[in-house]
């Protein structure tokens, strides 16, 4: 058989490509649910760690199904809010179709660009009390950093936090994830929504009596700075919701908020 003819080459290539495409399509379809569950479980286990339900190690040894179950069992409500702190829509918490907002990067751009945002709020019940978990996202020294902050019932006091990063320096910036004592610093501290910054990570040690600040990681100035800015930016975005302790502000207060949004838009166009 002549394997070098034009017709043969075209037909041969077509068959190979179609065959490969079919195999890949099948594999992708068959594995998709499992992969989605993995991604969800990862995000949820970060939230559960922040809210101090389990440690990260416990979560990863539990397996996906258990993590999703734990989420469903402990969550009270999950919903998205807009920039004015009003609830836009509910997020499903049913164990079979858990809905999360995990496109933090896009939301971060929206916050900074003062565009429409859809910010997730997850309220868990722990020992009969509400624990509110919100995300944050920002730039570290070498790449993005993100995490989840857990507040107690007053929406101010931290009960915990969890952070992750793409490529911070091992042993320095990477401590935001690896060093439990850094995360433990958050516990008991509180955000101050009337102050600016709302919360900060202070190089060289925060004053002991200051409630809304913690010590930076020694030698990781830039990562600490980035994390400080990320937390401050995101808490500012959540301020209308969190500073009112979860009760959505009345419609009247939404009106001036809209007018303040208008010049910001024109600034963007400029």
């Amino acid at each position: 058989m002549n394997t070098n003819g034009n017709a043969y080459t075209v037909i041969y290539s077509t068959i190979i490509v179609v065959l490969v495409a079919a195999i890949l399509a099948y594999a992708s379809m068959a594995l998709k649910p499992k992969q989605d569950a993995n991604a969800k479980a990862e995000t949820i286990s970060q939230m559960l760690t922040a809210a101090q339900f389990y440690s990260k190690e416990e979560c990863s040894s539990m397996g996906n199904d258990k993590v999703l179950e734990a989420y469903s069992k402990n969550i009270k409500s999950a919903f998205a809010i807009n920039a004015q702190g009003q609830k836009i829509r509910d997020l499903s918490t049913d164990v079979n179709k858990i809905e999360l907002i995990d496109n933090l990067k896009a939301q971060d751009n929206n916050i900074r660009g003062k565009k429409d945002v859809e910010l997730p709020v997850y309220i868990f019940t722990k020992d009969g009390k509400d624990v509110t978990v919100v995300p944050c996202y920002g730039a570290g020294l070498w790449g993005p950093i993100w995490g989840y902050l857990a507040f107690s019932q007053d929406d101010k006091t931290f009960v915990g936090a969890y952070f992750d990063h793409a490529s911070e320096t091992p042993g320095l910036g990477a401590k935001i994830k690896d060093d439990p004592s850094f995360r433990a610093e958050f516990v008991g501290k509180a955000a101050d929504y009337n102050a600016s910054p709302i919360f900060s990570i202070v190089k060289g040690g925060a004053p002991k009596d200051q409630q809304n600040a913690i010590d930076a990681i020694t030698g990781a100035t830039m990562t600490s700075k980035g994390l400080s800015a990320a937390i401050d930016t995101w808490l500012a975005a959540y301020k209308p919701y969190l500073s009112n302790n979860g009760s959505a502000p009345a419609m009247t207060s939404a009106q001036p908020a809209d007018t303040t949004a208008a010049p910001a838009d024109t600034a963007d166009i400029k």
Partner: protein, 383 residues
């Protein structure tokens, strides 16, 4: 000693009874006296300045830095603790802190040199004398000794021996040791805590900062005050500031520089062009508004001057051609200040800029040489 060594000449020579020890014996034999060997082939012109003499002079040039560094270790300890011990106790404290660094540096470094020379059956080269003197001067005084030992071993094996020993290395071994420490144990090598020597069990008092001038550089975008609030220019010039042991005092380094220049061992071209390079980028930073710190301040902060005088001029790892030295030095200075101004991750750029230029030195020489060849070829054609 002389007598002993000449009595039984055959004993330690190649083929002799203890011939396998010949490297080791030879190293001690020639340490303090010029060997009586006569050149057997080729040209017979010999200068009394041999490698050992050069190295001894560099070591002497480093002594002021080392002595000042020892005193400053005690002085900074006093500043942070709010006490005053007086000169001799400060010096004694620093001496006892720095001495172990020297012991570790020389014992580990020379042991490896001897081992490799013994294995390869070559003469032990004295190159490590200077590296061993430099290493304790460019590390934080509080660096744990075992870390220093590993760094020295790494630098000697991978910086020198794998390339064929002294004279064949393309990276400065002392800087390689520092780079190893810097990347291996960053928390011990950066931040504001590591530059102050503490007694066992002591902790830095709260709200006292042992930060170096360079760590304030990032805050000086609009005004110099964040820097000058902490350190006066005089402090930086005298060297009574926190930093690596030998790098702080401009005066001590200048004494060393004079010795090197007077004896003709250090290249004035590299030193001068490095200073020009640093001033140039510092000036660009001022003009572009990247920093408010005057360009000349860059010269007296951190390890710039120490690196320029003692490390960029290393005859083995710097450029060899005369034009190449100008280019090499300029880029060292320029890169150093560039890293300081524009990379928030690394406060000090001198180590990285010298190491980077070390790798480029052969390329610079190649370009200079081939440019000269083509220029002459053109001339020859015209004539």
């Amino acid at each position: 000693m002389e007598e002993n060594n000449t009595k039984q000449p055959g004993l330690f020579e190649k083929g002799g009874k203890l011939g396998w020890l010949h490297s080791t014996v030879d190293a001690f034999d020639t340490f303090l006296r010029v060997p009586g060997t006569v050149t057997k082939t080729g040209s017979h012109v010999r200068d009394s300045i041999d490698l050992k003499r050069i190295l001894i002079i560099v070591v002497i040039a480093l002594v002021p830095c080392a002595l000042f560094g020892m005193w400053n270790v005690g002085h900074e300890h006093n500043v942070v603790m709010g006490t005053d011990w007086g000169f001799w106790r400060q010096f004694g404290f620093g001496f006892l802190k720095v001495l172990p660094l020297y012991l570790v540096s020389y014992i580990v470094g020379l042991a490896i040199e001897f081992m490799f020379a013994q294995i390869c059956g070559e003469e032990v080269s004295e190159g490590y004398l200077v590296s061993g003197m430099l290493i304790p001067l460019i590390v934080p005084v509080d660096v744990p000794l075992w870390m220093l030992a590993i760094a020295v071993a790494f630098a000697v094996i991978f910086g020198k021996e794998v390339f064929g020993g002294t004279g064949m290395n393309f990276l400065n071994p002392a800087l390689l040791a520092r780079a190893f420490l810097f990347f291996s144990y960053p928390s011990k090598m950066s931040g504001s805590m590591c530059w102050i020597a503490l007694k066992h069990g002591e902790a830095l008092p709260d709200a006292v900062s042992g930060a170096t001038p360079l760590s304030f550089l990032g805050e000086c975008k609009d005004a110099v005050t964040p820097l000058t609030d902490h350190f006066s220019y005089m402090d930086m010039f005298l060297g009574t500031i926190p930093g690596s042991v030998g790098e702080t005092s401009v005066i001590a380094i200048l004494i060393g520089a004079v010795i090197l220049l007077w004896t003709g061992i250090g290249s004035w071209k590299i030193m001068l062009s490095s200073v020009i390079g640093a001033l140039f980028v510092g000036w660009l930073g001022n003009v572009s508004g990247a920093t408010a710190v005057p360009a000349w301040t860059q010269l007296i902060m951190g390890g710039f001057l120490f690196g320029t005088v003692f490390m960029a001029t290393d005859p083995v790892t710097s450029a060899q051609t005369e034009t190449g030295k100008w280019i090499f030095g300029f880029l060292v200075g320029a890169l150093c200040v560039t890293v300081r101004l524009f990379n928030p991750g690394y406060a000090e750029g001198m180590m990285l800029s010298i190491l980077l230029m070390n790798t480029f030195a052969p390329l610079i020489d190649y370009c200079v040489t081939s440019a000269a060849i083509s220029r002459r070829a053109k001339k020859a054609k015209l004539a």
